[in-house]
Amino acid sequence: MSDLLSLSRPLPGLPKIGQLRSHLRGINPGLLVAGAYLTFLAVATIAPGLLASADPLATDAHHLFSPPSANHWFGTDENGRDVWSRVIHAARPSLLLGGAAALATAATGALLGLAAGLSPRLLGNVLMRLTDMLQSFPEILLVLVIISFWGANNATLLVALGLAGVPRVVRQVRAQVVTLQRALFIEAAITLGLPRWLIILRHVLPNAIKPVLVLFPLDIGWKITAVATLSFLGLGASPPAPDWGAMLAIDRDYVLNGWWLTAIAAGAITGTVLSVNALGRALIRRNEGHR
């Protein structure tokens, strides 16, 4: 659905550093919160040990479902593990998988889109029909099939989630390439006598992938949601690895025993997706403002 945000025109770049300060001053408090939350997550991703000292895997069969306390900030779960530590340690896989999948989508899509836009008509058409095929096939079904039949390890998750969304990017990049090829500045470069490969490399490529880059943060948000959804459906990370979606899936069976478990896992996922999306949207708006 995010291809609706696609921008048919090439976009100018990001604001210069010098302008940043004035941008910061007028910044929305909501965005600051989102930024702070993501910064926190970044720390949790790089060095979870700094934020949570307890072992996220250490069980304690005699302290199941302890409510939040000074010892266990977020309480303990169905295995007596420290939930705070699990939430913190779950940031890395979520963010990395989300980011990597978004990157895979963007890279594959951009390459195929460029190929479709630049290759001879017949080949381009074949590529586009393949894209149509992939697009008519609902992403969720694709992901479910790949994961159910190939297993829910990081590699298949990456392939499945990476593939989902590729048609959108291919279309976007191809449309951009086609438009760009008729753009006046490309013609100006042609009349300068620059060789085709140089024009593609220097002018077409960077401008064609710009909208993909702009939508990249939103796609990360989408992928994180997808990872969590899959875990929720029981197709995500293998236990006992801490994972927000899996925590939520298991914890909702224990609403009666520890309702906060559900709330915490839900909060972590929602907060992340919300922050990523809010910042992503802000980025898009800023880009448009500079058009």
């Binding site: 609706l4 909501g30 969720i140 079904l141």
Partner: protein
């Protein structure tokens, strides 16, 4: 027009064939023992004769290409096979579940797009604080994963307040919470797109012209802007179809509803190959058809489309 329609349908058939092939091979190239799956999974205790019978009956003793051609041949006769796990014809199973999901999706579409149109039409290009608020509302609506929305609604309205039954089959009220869950992200995305579109449209010279003719604000929004806003809405609804299906998988799981979504996730986790293939083909064809229909609705809504073809 007819030629274009036939062309689109032809392309659709090719896409279907491709889908069938792709899914067939993705599924069949994975390791596994479908015979045991058919017999009920790990707790099956079949005799050797039964195992042989199953492998012969389903053609697992044939080479993959043979199985593929056989499968395509049966498809051409409209035979989608028999579910591995439910032991009933795939078409019958799908037919049994389709209605529930279609009803849910339809209501969600109606509710979601209705809400979005209402909100977008009344709030586009208004006070700054309202814009700010709605921008956040859009982000929230389209960010909160459906399974969380669903769980929250269930927890709040069903378990706690008892306003709605927690079980899926108890009366018409049981469709309300799932519909809302499904409609909220639809509304979130649509509001965002519609508002962007409307803000752009309301700046257009023809809107100024309409105002200078003495047309009221309501008249401008309903008489001119609405129709323009419908065009991107259509595009989204076309794309939305697959999104709705994905959400249906989750919503039907959370709310224990029967339906295509849940059958799909069950079928895949249970490796019910004929059912997975059947659903894949069905959903793909609906998707293709829906997009063709939407293309033709465009022509009705936007007279420019046809001429540009």
């Amino acid at each position: 027009m007819t030629r274009r329609l036939l062309g689109r349908l032809g392309a659709g058939l090719v896409v279907l064939w491709g889908t069938a092939t792709l899914v067939f091979f993705v599924i069949n190239l994975t390791p596994g023992d479908p015979a045991i799956t058919i017999l009920g999974g790990p707790d099956a205790l079949p005799t050797p004769a039964v195992l042989r019978q199953v492998r012969a009956e389903y053609g697992f003793d044939q080479p993959l290409w043979g199985q593929y051609l056989h499968y395509l041949g049966r498809l051409l006769h409209g035979d989608f096979g028999v579910s591995y796990r439910l032991h009933q014809p795939v078409l019958k199973l799908i037919a049994g579940q389709f209605g529930a999901t279609a009803t849910l999706a339809l209501w969600a579409m109606v509710l979601g797009s209705g809400l979005a149109l209402l909100v977008a039409l009344t709030t586009a290009k208004r006070a700054r604080w309202l814009t700010e608020l709605l921008t956040w509302a859009e982000v929230v609506l389209s960010s909160v994963p459906s399974f969380i929305t669903g769980l929250l609604l269930l927890l709040a309205f069903s378990f706690s307040l008892h306003l709605f039954p927690s079980s899926s089959t108890h009366g018409w009220t049981s469709i309300i919470l799932p519909t809302v869950t499904l409609a909220l992200p639809v509304a979130g995305v649509l509001i965002q797109v519609l508002r962007r579109e409307l803000e752009e449209i309301l700046e257009q010279p023809f809107i100024i012209t309409a105002r200078t003719r003495g047309l009221s604000e309501t008249g401008v929004r309903l008489g001119h802007a609405l129709r323009h806003a419908l065009i991107p809405t259509l595009t989204i609804l076309g794309v939305m179809f697959t999104t709705l299906l994905s959400t249906a998988v989750v919503v039907e799981t959370v709310f224990n509803r029967q339906g295509l979504g849940r059958m799909m996730s069950d079928a895949t986790t249970n490796r019910d190959v004929p059912l997975v293939l059947g659903i894949a083909l069905l959903v793909t064809s609906i998707n293709i058809l829906a997009n063709i229909v939407i293309d033709f609705i465009y022509v009705v809504v936007d007279p420019r489309t046809e001429r540009h073809e």
